[in-house]
């Protein structure tokens, strides 16, 4: 965790500085005279993030200075693979949603996730999307009487 703390501390510190120097000044206008600046709280929070991140980095560095010791991987290869697969399914489903239709996107999301997670049974691949989409339709359109799309 020491290395992860060090890296996350550095990233958060840079993010905070970036927000303070570039994003907040360019995306929040100054208030008219007599008002409390709308930048006040965002600035205060980012200053807190930068300060605490520096503390986190220093703490991690102090831990590492005790000498190297083996650390358990926070992101195992199988986990990363799985997350990337899920991200890809979401990307495809959103593209289909925007360019084709929400119904097809729903099918892509369910079937894609099933396939990504290793489901190969044809019955599950057909029955699950059909049941879920039908269930949502029955719940909203029939039971509650409202359209959601």
């Amino acid at each position: 965790m020491r290395q992860a703390d060090f890296v996350s501390g550095v990233v958060l510190c840079l993010l905070g500085l970036g927000m303070l120097i570039f994003v907040i000044p360019s995306h929040i206008a100054q208030a008219p005279a007599g008002f409390v600046s709308p930048r006040l709280v965002p600035n205060m929070m980012m200053i807190a993030v930068v300060g605490l991140s520096i503390l986190l980095v220093l703490k991690a560095l102090r831990g590492m200075s005790y000498g190297p010791h083996p650390e358990k991987n926070l992101f195992s290869r199988s986990e990363v693979r799985m997350v990337l697969r899920l991200a890809m399914v979401f990307a495809i489903a959103i593209t289909v949603f925007v360019w084709l239709s929400p119904l097809v996107a729903g099918v892509v999301l369910i079937v894609g996730t099933l396939l990504a997670l290793g489901e190969r049974g044809p019955v599950a691949l057909v029955v699950m999307p059909a049941t879920l989409l039908l269930g949502v339709w029955l719940f909203f359109y029939q039971l509650l009487g409202t359209a959601i799309l």
């Binding site: 965790m1 992860a4 703390d5 996350s8 995306h27 929040i28 206008a29 208030a31 008002f35 409390v36 709308p38 930048r39 006040l40 709280v41 965002p42 929070m45 980012m46 807190a48 993030v49 605490l52 503390l55 986190l56 703490k59 831990g63 005790y66 010791h69 083996p70 650390e71 358990k72 991987n73 926070l74 992101f75 195992s76 290869r77 199988s78 986990e79 799985m82 997350v83 899920l86 979401f90 489903a93 959103i94 949603f97 925007v98 729903g106 999301l109 369910i110 996730t113 099933l114 997670l117 290793g118 489901e119 599950a124 699950m128 879920l132 949502v136 509650l144 009487g145 409202t146 959601i148």
Partner: protein, 517 residues
Amino acid sequence: MEHLIAGFANVLMPATLIWIVIGVSLGYMLGAMPGLGKATGVAVAIPLTFYLEPVAAIAMLIGIAKGSTAGSAVAAILLNTPGEPSSAPTALDGYPLARQGKAQKALKMGLFASVIGDFLSTLLLIALAAPLARYALLIGPVELCAILFFSLTFIGGLAGGSMIKGLIAGALGVFFATVGLELETFIPRMTFGTLELDDGISLVPMAIGMLAVAEMAVQAGKMRELDSAAATIVDGAHPNDRRVTRAEWLRCLPAIGRGTAIGSAVGILPGLGASVGSFLSYGVTRKLSKTLEAFGTGMIEGVAAAESADNAVVPSSFVPLFALGIPGSVIAAILIAALIMHGLTPGPRMFVEQPQMVANIYAAMLCASVIMLAIGLLGQKLFAQVIRVPLRRVIPVVLFLCCVGAYMDSGSIFSIYVMLFFAVLGYFSRKLGFSFVTFLIGFVIGPNLELTFRQSLQILNHDPMRLMGHPVAVVFLVLTVVVVVAIAFSNSRAAVREELAARAATSNPRKLEEENR
């Protein structure tokens, strides 16, 4: 009292009761699945309640919260994998009982302890919230700002393993709450020209992404080990293996009483959370036992102590929410969105402005406790089967419902983007040990914190010395400093112990390599 009676009359209508039954059943099933806790369940279900009557909607969500807290014992006992971290002490004795063929006995005791803890804690909420709210009405913006600041610091310090990370998460939560039009000047803040962000970031897609989608991504990574553990449990042949005997009841009742008291006290304090309550209760019961060496080998008192405390935390965590408008737990933070959406703003004013609605919620909470007992007893065997459904079939269902829920919040694909953005943030916060609970609570109290801070600046005329005229605020600011120092001191001692333990545990490089793979 008359409001409460009218509340029962409103809740005991078939149209409302059915939603409590659905909520408790759904919650029980969600809780039984590892990783799908009450916060996930409620976050996903909020959009489903958009079109329900307010009482039915809130009753259903409370049913989900209560059902899933009790249901999380199922996975802890049968899989040794708690549905939620707060059920981890349940697994210490529940799983050995299951391995001895006494799974039904452990599940029943878990259910009874849950219902008793939950019911008594709800009565405590009813007794405490309104009187406390009367005092809260006397509090001005300066005091409220100090209390909110103290709560956020306290939660940040305690919610995770590291206070620094907790405070960073809280600060980021408040920061994200500032996105959108600023309320005094109507100046857009960090909207990047996106109209959808003018109203700020919506809590529903954010909570769904951060809690449910991120959790599913984590669960997908350890899918195989969870699935393989489910197939190993069988029931014993003797009838006593499947029921709680009179002697066991007599042994467990003091543990349940203690657990309820500890859980209720822990719930009232913002930020401690159900895990602290259940571990504390388990530890005290173990310490007071004459056979403390037998704990961890299948002592039913361990299950009773942990579950009663775990369930007592939920209702009592609504005390600060109802009395002060401060969410003391993640479930309270998420419920704020639902309550506001259905016309009830949590805080001291709600007891004055909408006493009947508050009474309806109380009645729904008490009914949900009783329904939880009935559903648990009737459906325990069925719910126990839920854990045998492979995760590869559970995750797609949850992700699909997450998308439906997030989309319904605004009727736009933008909500899905928000959900995914916070899912990524939630995934990394879980992996890197940043408390997403503190983040969410920071986000929820952010607008109020900013408003009271601005008002305080004006009231104090930017002069810190004028704080002396607000002794309550001074007390809370001093408490904040004391809490930060105390937690930092205790964390640094714990870190040294962990460092030594980690070095001992990871001294075998081959084992480490296997784990990493």
